[in-house]
Symmetry: C2
Subunit: 357 residues, 2 copies
C-alpha cells in the first residue's frame, strides 16, 4: 500500500483534485492496487490557516508519504505578500529543494482531437506535436548563492547567482537521454553557452553524457533560438533538456503552444522515485468554485504518479487512454470546447473518464 | 555631414548591406542630407583577416563615426572557436559595452500584406500586431561578475552573476515609458520577481519610474507567463520592457511570431544618440552569396538610424513607407513569397524600394 500526500491548494485546486481522486479510486478497483490518501493544506489556504504556505505539518506528511499529488496554489488574495512569502514560490521551491526533486518532466503534446485549439497555423500543427521538456529543478539561479541586495541610492544593486556543478548537470542529462530512449531518441539541449560560463560547462557535460547514449541524437541550441524554433516548427523537437531558469521559460512556451494548458501534467522526481505531481496550469482564481475547471491536467498528473513513483504502468496507460477516449467522444470542458458543442462541468468530465476506465 | 561606420560582416551581411546603402543614397538625394560611409571588417571575416572579430581599427572607426550600420556575423566556418572568440559574441558584446549601448529597441510587427506568413492562427493574428521590445543591453548576467569556473571532478562548478543597479534599471525604464508615449501608452515589464532578488529591485524601480508617467499604463508579468501570453494573444502588448537576458529570449520569440524575421530591424542606443543598427535575423550562411536574401531588415535598420541617431524623421518615415508600398505591390523575396508569385532577388528588392522612394 502506498500513501499519497494530497495537497489540493487554492483556486480550482480542490475541484480538479476531487476528480483525480475519483479516477484513482476507479483505477484501484480495476487494477487491484491500494492507495491511502492523506490531505494537508498548502499555499494561500495554508497561509490563512497556519501563517505559512508550507506548514511544518504538511512537510511532515509529505515526508511520511510515497508521493505528493499537488493541486495549484495562489490567487489575488495573497498577491500583496512579499515575494518570498507568496503561495507558489513559498511552497513549491522549498518542496523541490527539501526532497531534491531535481528532475521536472513536462510533456507538451497536442491531443489530436484538440488540434484545432492549437494557437499555431494548422499547416504548422499538422497532426499534432509531442515535446517532452526535461527541466532541472533544484539548482541554477533559483538557488545559487550569493543572492541579495547591497548599497544604496542609484548604485543600489540586486544580484543572483547562476550556478551548476558537473554532478548536477550529469544527473539531469541522464534523465533526458533515458527519456529519449523511450521516445524518438532525440535530445536538444538548451543553453546560452555563447554568453554564460555556467552554460559552457553545461554544454560540455551534456556532450560527455551523450557518449554513453550513441543511439540518441544530441543537438545544442541557444535559448533565444529555441523559443523561435518552437514557434516555427515544434515537430523538430523530441526531448528538450534545460536548466532550471531556461526550462521554466521553454516549458511554459511549449505548453501554451499546444493550446490546451488545462490538459498538461507534470512530474518532479528525485532519484528515489519520490515525486511531486501537479498540473502545468495555474490556480485560475477567476473560475474557481464554479465547477467548470478542466480536471484533465490533474488526472494526467495522477497517472504520471502511478507510472513514475509506483511503477503501475498498466494503470497509468489506462488512465491516459480513458482521457483520450473521452476527448474523442466529444466531451469537453469550457476551456477546450469547440464551436457548437455544449461544455460539461468538472465533475461530469471526471465521471466520463471514470466511465471509460 | 554624418559619418556611418559600415560593418557588413559575414553571410548575407554584405549583400543586404549593399541594398541599404543604395536606399540611403536615394534618401540623401531626395531629402538633401549627406552621409559619409566608411567600411570596416567585423565578425568571421575579421577573424580571418586580422585574427579577431572586432579588430582595433574597426573599433577606432566606430569611435570616429556618428553611428554603426551592422550587417550580420557568424557562420559554420567559425563554430569550432571557443565561445569568447565566436564572431557574434566577440563583436556585438564588446561594441555594446564599449559604447554603452544600453537600450535595444526591437520592433516586432506583422506587416499587413505579410499577415499570412505569421505562424499563429489567423484568428489570433487578426489584422496584425505590433510589439516593441525594449531590452537592456549592457548589464545583467551578460556582464555581471564574478563569472567563472572553479573546483574539479563532479563538484566542478560554473557560475555567472545576474546583477542590476537602480540607475541601470531607471534609465532603461525611462526609454520604455518614453517609447510607449509615442505608441499605445502601455508598458509591460517582464521579470521573475517571484524568484530573483535582482528582479525584485527591477520591479520596484520600474514602478517608481512609472509614477512620472501617469498617462502610461504599467503591468508586470513573469517571464514564463510572458512567453505564453505572447503566443496566446500578442495584441495585449504594446511596449515590453525587459532586462538583457529575458529580453534576448522575449525579443526573439516576438520576432519569430511575426513570421518575417527578414523584415525586422533593431537599434541599440546610448544616451548620446549614438547607435548600432542591425537586422534582427542572423547571417543565414545557407543562402549567402546567392543574391536571394531579403534586404528589408537591413533597410529598415538604416531607417532607424536616420530616426534615432540623426533625427531625420521625415526620411526615415519615407523609407518605412517605401517598404510597405513595395510589399503591397506584391514584390517578395523568397523568404516571404506567397503561393504563385515569382520571388525577386536581393538587388531587385532594393531597386523596387528605391523606386518607391
Ligand atoms: C512559482 C515559480 C517559483 C515556479 C518556477 O519558476 O519554478 C513556477 O513558475 C513553475 O514553473 O513551477
Ligand atoms: C550573440 C549573442 C551574444 C547575442 C545576445 O545574446 O545578446 C544575440 O543573441 C543577440 O540577441 O543579439
Amino acid at each position: 500500500m502506498k500513501q499519497v500526500a494530497v495537497l489540493a491548494g487554492d483556486g480550482i485546486g480542490p475541484e480538479v483534485m476531487a476528480e483525480a481522486i475519483k479516477v484513482l479510486a476507479a483505477a484501484q478497483r480495476r487494477f487491484g492496487f491500494t492507495l491511502h490518501f492523506e490531505y494537508a493544506d498548502v499555499g494561500g489556504v495554508a497561509i490563512d490557516r497556519h501563517g505559512e504556505a508550507l506548514p511544518a505539518a504538511t512537510l511532515q506528511l509529505c515526508e511520511q508519504s510515497d508521493a505528493i499529488l499537488f493541486g495549484s496554489v495562489g490567487g489575488p488574495k495573497w498577491e500583496g505578500l512579499s515575494p518570498e512569502r507568496q503561495p507558489e514560490r513559498a511552497s513549491l521551491l522549498p518542496l523541490r529543494k527539501h526532497f531534491d526533486l531535481f528532475c521536472n518532466l513536462r510533456p507538451a503534446r497536442v491531443f489530436p482531437p484538440l488540434a484545432a485549439a492549437c494557437p499555431l497555423r494548422p499547416d504548422i500543427v499538422g497532426d499534432g506535436f509531442d515535446v517532452l521538456v526535461v527541466r532541472e529543478l533544484t539548482s541554477d539561479i533559483y538557488f545559487g548563492t550569493p543572492k541579495g541586495r547591497e548599497g544604496s541610492g542609484p548604485e543600489e544593486r540586486g544580484f543572483d547567482t547562476m550556478s551548476y556543478t558537473r554532478r548536477e548537470i550529469e544527473r539531469i542529462s541522464r534523465m533526458a537521454f533515458d527519456a529519449a530512449r523511450l521516445r524518438r531518441k532525440r535530445v536538444t539541449s538548451v543553453d546560452k553557452a555563447n554568453v554564460l560560463t555556467t552554460m559552457v560547462l553545461w554544454r560540455e557535460v551534456v556532450s560527455e553524457v551523450a557518449r554513453d547514449y550513441p543511439d540518441v541524437e544530441l543537438r545544442h541550441i541557444y535559448v533565444d533560438n529555441a523559443t523561435m524554433q518552437l514557434v516555427r516548427d515544434p515537430h523538430q523537437f523530441d526531448v528538450m533538456l534545460c536548466g532550471n531558469m531556461f526550462g521554466d521559460i521553454i516549458s511554459d512556451e511549449a505548453a501554451m503552444l499546444t493550446g490546451s494548458m488545462g490538459m498538461l501534467a507534470s512530474a518532479s522526481l528525485n532519484s528515489d522515485k519520490f515525486g511531486l505531481y501537479e498540473p502545468a496550469g495555474g490556480s485560475a482564481p477567476d473560475i474557481a468554485g464554479q465547477g467548470i475547471a478542466n480536471p484533465i491536467a490533474e488526472i494526467l498528473s495522477a497517472a504520471m504518479m502511478l507510472r513514475y513513483s509506483f511503477g503501475l504502468e498498466e494503470a497509468a496507460a489506462a488512465i491516459d487512454q480513458a482521457v483520450e477516449k473521452t476527448l474523442e467522444n466529444g466531451i469537453r470542458t469550457g476551456d477546450i470546447a469547440a464551436g457548437g458543442r455544449q461544455p460539461v462541468g468538472t465533475a461530469a468530465m471526471g465521471d466520463a473518464i471514470v466511465g471509460e476506465l
